[in-house]
């Protein structure tokens, strides 16, 4: 993103905090106004500065887009939705103070989550203390679901380990003579990247596909030729990369240099980035990647989201924006069904409803287990004819699954 628009976004968000803040204050002054015509205030703390500011701003746009879409349709339960967004500076202490303030002092009606696992866990604890429903857009690591939270819901199709579920099913369902026999795994030492690769590894191993290489590399790895040499010499049928971006690209080029041709190659994150095709010399055909969100996904609300988002922000939404929007959709569904949105009794109703129902969102229908872990899997995209298309699951596919992968 060019610097200019970034500072513009920062100024915009600062202005937003100011205006929303004053609006909330004036609401306090009125005291015992008619509750049913008051706006529903949604308290959010986001990392608008610091380490997570890029994704933080993305999630913010998602929330703003959601509020606008809801308000343009007359609001929730006939009340307008108002966002109150605080900046936690990517700081775990700040995020706790922010939610204490939002719930205790500002008396917001609902709260939704911040960005990144590191901030989700402490803020979820605050929400839990106040018995508030806590739907969050980003906290895919398994630690989030091991804290015993009862009010937490992760508003995305799947946690990292389940991203590849559709692919695992597809591979294991191949006829025996086509099914790969050996697999190589190379994953960055990072809970998310490694989680995706190891989730698939577990399922394929259980299905009888032998692991011949299992490499973990630190995030600061600069040379991938050694890993590539191991994979190439093992001649694994399929290759799975738990990658972010540059590591995936460097590994693919190193493998091309060694002349390794797998029957199937799947990488997390890297293949869905806009620079990917050019970086590996457009030899992309057949490369797979799980994705939590696609602008082309045929879910009902997605078309509306993409359209309205483009009108509001002048660009297409990415995964961060979609996660924010999805969180809003989940909360809205619960509020509509329970018929209330305020602190106290109502929150329990919202939580109970979400535990026993399915919500249609821009990333597909979502449902959760008791820990708030989503029960779905990511869509699988594949590079076909210089474009990345959804190939799995079959009911939303844009193109047919290509297997074995053409040479790169």
């Amino acid at each position: 993103m060019p610097k200019k628009s970034r500072s513009k976004a920062a100024a915009l968000s600062a202005a937003l905090i100011l205006t929303v803040g004053t609006a909330a204050c004036s609401g306090d002054d009125q005291g015992g106004g008619d509750k049913s015509s008051d706006p529903i205030t949604v308290g959010i703390s986001l990392p608008l500065t610091g380490d997570f500011s890029e994704p933080g701003k993305g999630v913010q746009e998602g929330y703003e887009a959601w509020a606008k879409v809801v308000n343009d349709k007359g609001g929730l339960l006939g009340r307008q939705v108002e966002l109150k967004i605080l900046d936690d500076q990517s700081n775990a202490d700040r995020v706790v103070a922010d939610y204490e303030q939002l719930i205790g002092k500002d008396q917001v009606d609902l709260v939704v989550g911040p960005f990144s696992t590191r901030l989700v866990v402490p803020s979820a604890r605050v929400a839990e203390e106040y018995d508030m429903l806590f739907v969050e857009p980003a906290g895919a690591a398994k630690e989030v679901f091991e804290q015993g939270f009862k009010n937490l819901f992760y508003a995305a199709p799947a946690v990292a380990n389940d991203h590849y579920n559709h692919l695992a099913e597809h591979i294991l369902a191949l006829p025996a003579d086509q099914r790969p026999k050996t697999a190589a795994y190379a994953a960055m030492d990072d809970p998310f990247a490694q989680g995706t690769a190891y989730g698939l590894k577990e399922k394929l191993e259980a299905g009888g596909i032998k692991t011949v290489v299992n490499e973990v590399y630190p995030p600061n790895t600069t040379d991938f030729s050694g890993i590539a040499a191991k994979v190439a010499s093992a001649k694994a049928d399929i290759l799975v990369g738990g990658s972010q971006y540059q590591d995936g690209v460097n590994l693919i080029v190193a493998l091309q240099q060694l002349g390794y041709q797998p029957k199937l190659a799947a990488f997390s994150t890297a293949p869905t980035t806009p620079e990917f095709a050019k970086a590996i010399g457009n030899k992309t055909t057949g490369i797979l990647s799980p994705t939590g969100y696609s602008q082309d996904a045929p879910y009902e609300s997605n078309k509306e989201f993409v359209e309205k988002f483009k009108a509001q922000f002048g660009k297409a939404p990415e995964e961060d924006q979609a996660n924010g929007y999805t969180t809003g959709q989940v909360v809205a569904a619960a509020v509509t069904a329970a018929g209330c949105a305020e602190q106290g009794e109502c929150q329990k109703k919202l939580v109970d409803w979400l535990h026993s129902n399915k919500v249609d969102t821009v990333v597909g229908p979502l449902s959760w287990d008791q820990t708030g872990k989503p029960q779905g899997a990511h869509m699988i995209q594949q590079w076909v004819d210089n474009d990345i298309k959804i190939v799995l699951p079959a009911d939303v596919k844009e193109a047919d699954f290509v297997y074995p992968k053409p040479a790169w």
Partner: protein, 291 residues
């Protein structure tokens, strides 16, 4: 088979390390300067190679026509304007702070000019390779190796065969004595620093051929490069080259049994071993004792 392939890869990697580390050891030799910004300049050169290739479609190797003189001049200016102003008594320590600041400035400017998006030069021969006795050699890695060999031999010839080289080595060995012999050590040091930065221009170009670059990448390089010059003996270019080859090879071979994470620690194990048992370095150079 895998072992042979790894030896080839280790050789190529060691050559690249040698090139990238040569400037770093030179600065220390000439001025007792710990140049944290060296790897930032490498990335800067890599960005310039990428940018020139991206804009004009010129082969990144040709970008050196511009970047090498540019970096040489920048090195002279840097030394004359900033580093000479540091007090000799605290030079080594303060140079860490100063060059740290320069590294941050370069990283920030790269982010500002080219954004944080990760870049990679895509050439027709990026993934091309040929076979040699069953091992595959990537063309870009070979080019980087040849570049390293040419640059280091050039550096060697300059140091050993030219008057400037003699003056430079005299300055490295004993600055006061060199000055007594009538060598303008200040000017020589300036040019020496320029020479060091010129190697960064060559090294950055070599790096850009086969790496995905981004502004903060230099932090991943400075650690191993520092380890190489200490193991090689601070101030000794041949020592750094030898250490680079040994460590590059060790990293590549250890990766087979130990995996990537542990293979990387070879640099730091070597660093500790050197400091503990032979602080002057294993491959020549007597300067470390004063460090």
């Amino acid at each position: 088979m895998l072992v042979f392939q790894s030896i080839i890869l280790g050789l190529l990697l060691g050559g690249l390390y040698a090139l990238l580390a040569s400037g770093l050891t030179l600065y220390f030799g000439i001025m007792r300067v710990v140049m944290i910004a060296h790897s930032a300049f490498l990335i800067l050169a890599a960005y310039l190679a990428w940018w020139i290739h991206d804009r004009a479609g010129i082969d990144p190797l040709l970008s050196m026509v511009v970047t090498v003189p540019l970096f040489f001049a920048a090195g002279v200016v840097l030394q004359r304007l900033l580093l000479t102003r540091l007090r000799p008594a605290t030079l080594t320590m303060m140079s860490v702070l100063l060059t740290f600041a320069i590294a941050l400035a370069i990283e920030g400017l790269l982010g500002y000019a080219f954004t944080g998006t990760q870049r990679r030069i895509q050439l027709g021969y990026s993934s091309a390779s040929f076979e040699l006795f069953g091992a595959r050699i990537a063309v870009v890695k070979l080019i980087a190796f040849v570049l390293a060999a040419v640059a280091l031999s050039g550096l060697y010839v300059v140091m050993k065969r030219t008057r400037f080289g003699w003056a430079l080595r005299a300055t490295i060995q004993h600055r006061d004595a060199a000055r007594l012999l009538g060598i303008d050590t200040e000017r020589v040091a300036g040019y020496g620093f320029g020479l060091g930065l010129a190697t960064a221009a060559v090294g950055g170009t070599a790096l850009s051929l086969d790496t995905t670059i981004y502004p903060s990448l230099h932090w991943h390089w400075i650690g191993p490069l520092m380890a190489i010059i200490v193991v090689g003996g601070l101030g000794s270019v041949p020592g750094a080259a030898a250490a680079a080859m040994v460590l590059g090879m060790a990293q590549s071979l250890l990766q087979i049994p130990m995996g990537t994470t542990w293979a990387q620690t070879v640099f730091y194990v070597a660093l500790f071993a050197t400091l503990a048992f032979r602080p002057q370095g294993f491959f020549g150079g007597r300067l470390a004792q004063r460090f």
